[in-house]
C-alpha cells in the first residue's frame, strides 16, 4: 500500500522552512517524517503527516507550492543491520530507489523507512514476497 508524502517547494529565503512547519503545527497537523532535498538555489521539503489532504489544502491556501507524491513506508527493527536487511532485498531484486529517508519512532523499537521507488508496484510485490509489511495510511494517521 502506498502512502502520501507531501512535497513543498521552498525558495531560498530565510525562515521559509520554519513558516511551513509552524503553519502545520498551529493547525494541529503532526509531522511523522521529514527530509529536505536541497540544491544550490532552492529546496524541496518532503514530509509524511497524519492528515495529508488537510495539510496540502492549508499549504496551498497560504501560498505554498505543495503537491502529493506516492511513497512506500516500511517499519524495521531499530537495531544494527535493520535497514541493510531491507536494502539487500531491493538490491538483489532490481528494485530501484529514487530516494529514501528514515525516522526513529519514540516509545517503540521500530524505525520508519520512507521510500520513493522508480516502480512502486514492483517494489511492493517484492516486499510481499519477502513478507515485509508496509505501513498503511491508517497506521500513519494513527501513529
Amino acid at each position: 500500500m502506498k502512502i502520501t508524502q507531501i512535497s513543498v517547494f521552498l525558495e531560498n529565503r530565510k525562515g521559509r522552512l520554519h513558516e511551513v512547519c509552524s503553519l502545520l503545527g498551529d493547525n494541529g497537523i503532526n509531522i511523522r517524517a521529514l527530509t529536505v532535498a536541497e540544491t544550490e538555489s532552492f529546496g524541496v521539503l518532503r514530509i509524511v503527516v497524519d492528515k495529508s489532504d488537510e495539510a496540502v489544502a492549508l499549504l496551498r491556501e497560504n501560498g505554498f507550492v505543495a503537491n502529493f507524491t506516492d511513497v512506500v513506508a516500511i517499519e524495521v527493527g531499530d537495531r544494527p543491520g535493520g535497514l541493510a536487511a531491507v536494502l539487500k532485498i531491493f538490491a538483489t531484486n532490481d528494485v530501484n530507489i529514487e530516494y529514501m529517508y528514515a525516522f526513529v519512532e519514540k516509545h517503540s523499537d521500530k524505525a520508519l523507512l520512507v521510500f520513493r521507488f522508480e516502480d512502486a508496484d514492483f517494489a511492493q510485490q517484492v516486499l510481499a514476497r519477502h513478507s515485509i509489511s508496509v505501513v498503511t495510511r491508517k497506521e500513519i494517521e494513527g501513529l
Binding site: Q5, R13, F42, G63, N67, T69
Partner: protein, 436 residues
Amino acid sequence: MEVPFWNKEIETLDRSSLEKIQLERLREAIGWSLKTPFYSKKLAQAGIGSPDDIKGLEDLRRVPFTVKDDLRRSFPKGHLSVEMTDVVRVHSSSGTTGIPTVIYYSREDLERWTDLLARCIVATGAAPRDIFQNMMTYGLFTGGLGLHYGAERVGMTVIPISGGNTKRQIQVMKDFQTTVLHITPSYLLHIHSQLQADGIDRASLSLDRALIGAEPHSENTRRKIEELLQIQAFNSYGLSELNGPGVAFECVCRQDMHVWEDAYIVEIIDPETGENVEDGQEGEVVLTNLIRQAAPILRYRTRDLAFLHTEPCACGRTHRRLSRIRGRTDDMLIIGGVNVFPSQIEEKIMKIPEVATNYQIHVDKKGALDRLIIKVEIYPKLFLGEASKLDALRQHIKEEVRSSIVINPVVELHEPGSLPVFEGKAKRVVDTRPQE
C-alpha cells in the same frame, strides 16, 4: 473571418490617396507647428518658414528630429500652438526622471483622437454589445482616458475602474460579465495568478478579448496570456507625445499593428546615423502627429525599436503594420560587454510552460564581472515534488537564455506570488551595478 471596420473607406484607402491626405495634413501640421516657439525656431533653421515649403512627403525629411529632451526643455508651454482657452485637456508623462513632458489637446484634437481609438477597438472585433473594463490608470497618463472615450464612442458599456485592487477587479468582471479588458500584459498575468489562488473558475467569467499595451512584451507572453486566460489578446501601441494609445493597433488577424497613416507618418531610422531604413528593416520608430493642433509634434524619436511589414495584411487594410516593439534604444543593457534587450530574455523564458506569470531581471556586479540573475516564479500545477526536475528546469532556462544572448545567467526559481507585482506598468529590470 469577418473583418469589422469603423471607417472602411479610410482604413482601406489606396496608398496614393492615403499619401495625398498625409501631405495635406502634414502641411497643416507644419502650419500649426510654426505657431509654437519651439518649432518656429527649429523649422526656420531647416529653411522651412511656411507650409508651402513642403512640396511633397519627402520634404518631411528636411525637418529635424524632436527628442524627449526638447519637450522637457520647452516645458511647460514651448510646444503650445493655441491659446490656453482653446485647450480642453492636458496629459503629462510621469516625470519620474525629472521634469515632466506635457501635451495639450484642443476640442478638435480630442475628437480626432477619440475617433481613432474607436477605430482601434472595432478593428479587434469588439462591438457596442461588449462590456469594457478599463483597467489602465486614469489621470495624467493617457492610457486610461484615451481608450475610455474611444470605447464610449463605439457604444460599449464602459466600466472606468482604472488600475489596481485586483480582487475588486475580478469581482467586477463577474458582476458585470465583462467581455473586453484594457490592461497591461503584466497585470493581466497577475490577474490570472489571482484567479488561480482564489480558485475562481474561468468559466464563471465572460472574457473574450484583452487589449494589451503600455509596456513592451514578447509574442510568447501574448501566447501565454491567450492560453492561460483563454482570451484573444490584441497588441496596441502609442505614447503620450503622439496623443497616447491608438497610434497603432492589431486587427482581428493579430499579426502586428496597423499604424493609422492618415493620422501619423511613421518612419524607421537607424538610431546611430539618423538615416531612414528600408521597410522591413529594424530601427527606431519616428512619428509625426498629423492630427493634433494644440501641441504639434514632428518627427518624434520614440526610442522604440521595431520594423514595418512589407506584406499587406489579410484584413484588407492598406495602413502598414508595425512589428511589436523589440526593445527601446534606452532599455538596452550592456552586460559583460554584450548588448542585451530585456525582451530577448522574456521571449525565451515565457515560452517555457513551467514558468509562471512573473519574472524579474537583475544585473549586479560580482567582483569585476557583471552578473545577470533571472528570477522566475514556477507554475504550481507543474510541481510534482521532484527536486531533480526543478533543477533540470533551471538548467533549461539557463540554456535557452544563453542561446539567445550569449551570456550565462544565474537562474533562481521562486514561489508564485513572491516577486513584486505591478498593477500598472511593470518594472522588470533591476540594475544595481554602480554607475560610472
